[in-house]
Symmetry: C2
Subunit: 251 residues, 2 copies
DNA sequence: CGGGGGTTTGACGAACGTCAATCGGGGTGG
DNA sequence: CCACCCCGATTGACGTTCGTCAAACCCCCG
């Protein structure tokens, strides 16, 4: 919305994708060039729009280039559980090729832009993009690691620990995608959404956030989170970066 | 321990594996024969033994042929979260081939017997076992579905609902593997283990089980669970069989 | 006859949810 | 430019679920 006369100053749309994939595996110049071309087939999604409906075969594979989405399931009585977030740079539907019915819905939480990832998947399938192949495998592995962390949070951590742990996870992922720094990052979520990720009520999320603020561990202002004492938060919540979990897999 | 003079009456060790894989994909006679040969390289694990240590590259791929194990993580202060169970017929380490560090430990809960699954993985890799390839893909998919169910249980269900939901899941999985029937199945778990799966305290698991018994929904006696009113349990816990989640994937 | 692991029970407290009211800020139509 | 409005954040009061501590119990085995 500010880039009308400054296209060069606007962050290039594929940057988050490239940044993220490069942390997962080394990419060749050709592979980076391929990623840059994908900026073409872009698609816009309004907040609340369902990118993938639970129980239906997913759309073609895509990358999120801006905005936030989530994987979720809604119970018949309206209770909702969010499994995790899709941030800029993340892929969706990259796993299974033709696509069996989705196990969870994917919903845009903010305005979201995605690009078609089909060219990448073709190049990978044709053996023309070994770096991308490895990066996508690593991404799948990382997603699984995040899901396991989530289970521990929900099953064995208090509200206080859950919030701290979750904020650290977001900070880490967003920094990789090129948003924010070691302490500060965008957080465009309502407390209702936080509640549905963390398995808490809205009111209790609110109170827990207040406690963290009162103790000068975090600050929250208009969509921006600041971790005032990241290491304190880590020790409170037993947070560890998933980086160590990565390793070369099959060549 | 009873089969000393009646080897033919003892259940054949590979039965659970074959039963389960056949519900995931049609298998050829050759594939079934291959599975039967694996009965050779069997391995025994005592209760408490760590089949895979968290953070270390996993052993070679295996199938569980008898006994129960679990995937788990232990926090530094001793809190434990169990991610799910490995029942007879289930595989472990079938996904990634050389094997990056395991994201969770795998521990035997009872005496466990496993067989080496390497021959199967070789046949699959060589393109000689399309049915097994598909079955193993489906197994991975099913494991993911179970993990998502688990997240919903922990994040959005009450203790009462969690226990009901979990018992139904076990009944279903065990019946597929050839144990128990539509109402009755072996349950060789202490309440401490149940607590660590369900994200509850031992005491509260106990009270919840009592409530279910008092209401004549279940019975528990010496390692056997009986679901007296399975459909009541389903409606209480919003349980749905994951069967529908399955579909043909890439050919 | 003891022991030991697992189960059950009671009493109590802390964590978390629910209900309902209020507050606050940004957007929008006049 | 301003008043209004609406969604989300905040707060208080209260109830429930669930955890903790500690003791008793039970059963199988040695």
């Amino acid at each position: 919305m500010t880039a009308r006369f400054t296209p060069r100053l606007a962050p290039r749309p594929m940057d988050p994708v490239m940044r993220r994939l490069r942390t997962l595996a080394p990419l060749s110049e050709d592979e980076l060039a391929l990623l840059r071309t994908m900026v073409e087939r872009r698609e816009r999604h309004a907040p609340g729009e369902e990118l993938v409906a639970e129980g239906y075969p997913p759309r073609r594979p895509r990358f999120v280039v801006s905005g936030w989405a989530c994987r979720q399931r809604v119970m018949p009585d309206g209770r909702r559980q969010i499994f995790g977030f899709l941030l800029p740079g993340d892929g969706l539907g990259l796993g299974e090729r033709p696509g069996p019915p989705a196990l969870a819905g994917i919903v845009a939480l903010t305005a979201v832009e995605t690009v078609d990832a089909e060219p990448v998947m073709e190049a990978v399938a044709a053996g023309r993009a070994p770096g991308l192949k490895q990066a996508i495998e690593q991404a799948a592995r990382l997603e699984h690691a995040l899901l396991l962390d989530h289970v521990v949070r929900l099953g064995r951590q208090t509200a206080y620990e859950r919030v701290a742990h979750f904020l650290l996870e977001l900070q880490h992922r967003l920094e990789i995608a090129g948003f924010g720094d070691a302490q500060r990052f965008p957080l465009p979520l309502t407390q209702e959404i936080l509640a549905d990720v963390l398995g808490l009520s809205i009111v209790h999320v609110n109170r827990t956030l207040q406690q963290l603020r009162r103790e000068r561990l975090i600050e929250l202002r208009s969509g921006v989170a600041i971790l005032l004492q990241p290491d304190m938060l880590s020790s409170i919540s037993d947070y560890r970066r998933p980086a160590l979990a990565l390793r070369k897999s099959a060549s």
